[in-house]
């Protein structure tokens, strides 16, 4: 409104503040990098409890990946709901601000769904859109720096390299320049009696305020897609919904795709072939679950690992590279996260729209 009255300033105020913050942070990192080396991550494939003794139910820990997924969905779906509600209540015709981004994303996906699914778009769209937004939220939230850095200390065991901690105000800081060089005293007996030793090591949390000599950090929060449980459950739900849409569209006839007994009598040899092809279709349905879950998990886990490893490299003492190379890779990771969300939802859309189409129609037309 007052944009016409005051001349447009070429350079705003806040961008200088941000630039100062960025330069300050880079300088601080440069200075601190000489004192505190980055700690190479302790790579653990399964998710760990977000805090010792935090259980959802007996035997089911509340894992760090669950916490991340919960926070990510709150951070994304909360503002989205608020923006949509504010727009609907406001009664303006022209969308603006955050709502515009939401509408753009939804509209883009609606068009894609419509071109792929036709008249089933209305029923398929909510599902694929939710998957897209959820996976996107989780993948982007993974890039927030609190991930894999804040946690609780645990005695290092097995072949994980431990580090000595520095206690500042009751908080343990892992110090990368002081790796534990002593012999792995508690690792050796654990090899002998595997089951017992492992259970002992699991409970070895470091609770005292004294600096720990040989510790690792178990992150309290870790990207949700680095947990196979997250991706596998999404894949299972997706493939279940594919079957649901198939039955919805075609009725019980849908299952003749898998158990094709229609032509087994009329065409003795080729009917048998059709039956075997149907069984293969059943196997490929299971393979889809596997490929869905492993794709997302593999890409995101490998990306996290890559970032962690690259930020602990020394680059032959070329100090500036230690700060700029991980920055470039963060950009790549953002891109990969968006692409994976898109791929997951597009594949779900494709499978669903394929399931709603009867493919016996063209078989009959071929026969005639």
């Amino acid at each position: 409104m007052s944009a016409h009255a005051t001349p447009q300033r070429r350079f705003g105020f806040w961008r200088w503040v941000w630039l100062a913050v960025m330069i300050g942070a880079a300088g601080l990192a440069w200075y601190a990098g000489g004192i505190w080396k980055a700690v190479p991550p302790a790579v653990v494939l399964p998710a760990e409890p977000a805090w010792p003794g935090l259980y959802l139910a007996p035997g089911i820990p509340f894992t760090n990946t669950m916490l991340s997924a919960l926070l990510a969905s709150l951070l994304v779906f909360g503002p989205m709901l608020w923006a949509v509600q504010a727009f609907v209540r406001g009664g303006k015709d022209v969308p603006s601000g955050f709502y515009q981004i939401v509408e753009m994303a939804v509209e883009f996906f609606w068009n894609t769904t419509q071109s792929a699914a036709g008249k089933w778009a209305k029923r398929i769209f909510p599902f694929t859109m939710t998957i897209f937004l959820y996976v996107l939220a989780v993948n982007l939230f993974k890039m927030v720096p609190i991930h894999e850095t804040i946690g609780y200390t645990k005695l290092a065991h097995g072949n994980i390299q431990g580090y000595s901690t520095v206690v500042v105000g009751g908080v343990h800081l892992l110090d990368g320049s002081h790796p534990y060089t002593g012999e792995h005293a508690e690792a050796a007996p654990a090899e002998g009696e595997a089951g017992h030793g492992e259970a002992e090591a699991e409970s070895a949390y470091w609770n005292s305020a004294e600096p720990c000599e040989n510790c690792e950090i178990v992150p309290s929060i870790r990207g949700a897609a680095t947990d196979l449980n997250f991706t596998a459950s999404l894949a299972l739900i997706t493939m279940l919904m594919v079957q649901v849409f198939g039955v919805w569209a075609l009725g019980p006839d849908y299952f003749s795709k898998f158990f094709n007994l229609k032509t087994i009598v009329s065409k003795p040899f080729f009917g048998l072939m059709d039956f075997i092809v149907g069984l293969l279709e059943l196997i490929s349905e299971i393979a889809k679950i596997l490929s869905f879950s492993l794709r997302l998990f593999g890409v995101i886990f490998a990306g996290t690992l890559l970032l962690a490893i690259v930020s602990t490299l020394s680059f032959g003492g070329a100090q500036p590279l230690v700060f700029f190379v991980p920055g470039l890779l963060v950009g790549l990771e953002l891109f990969v996260g968006i692409i994976q969300a898109y791929v997951f939802s597009t594949l779900a859309l494709t499978f669903m729209s394929q399931a709603t189409v009867s493919h016996h129609g063209d078989e009959h037309s071929e026969a005639h």
């Binding site: 790579v43 894609t112 071109s115 794709r295 998990f297 890409v299 886990f301 690992l305």
Partner: protein, 79 residues
Amino acid sequence: MSDPETFLQAMRYLGAGLAVIGVAGAGAGIGIVVGGAVQAMARNPDYTPTIQTNMILGIAFAEAVAIYALAVALIILFV
């Protein structure tokens, strides 16, 4: 060979490296997919959205194989 633990670790690294060879095929596959898609888009630009969607699907399928190799390597290394 005198230290079985070190030998096992060395074999793990070797196995992980061998497992990741599978990524080469996926690289060639993605190259072929994108090459074909770019040619198609250059010939008829009107169909770009359709081609792009299918291209990304094809890339995802080709990439999945690479991801299997990567998952195997990760499991060999860290489990």
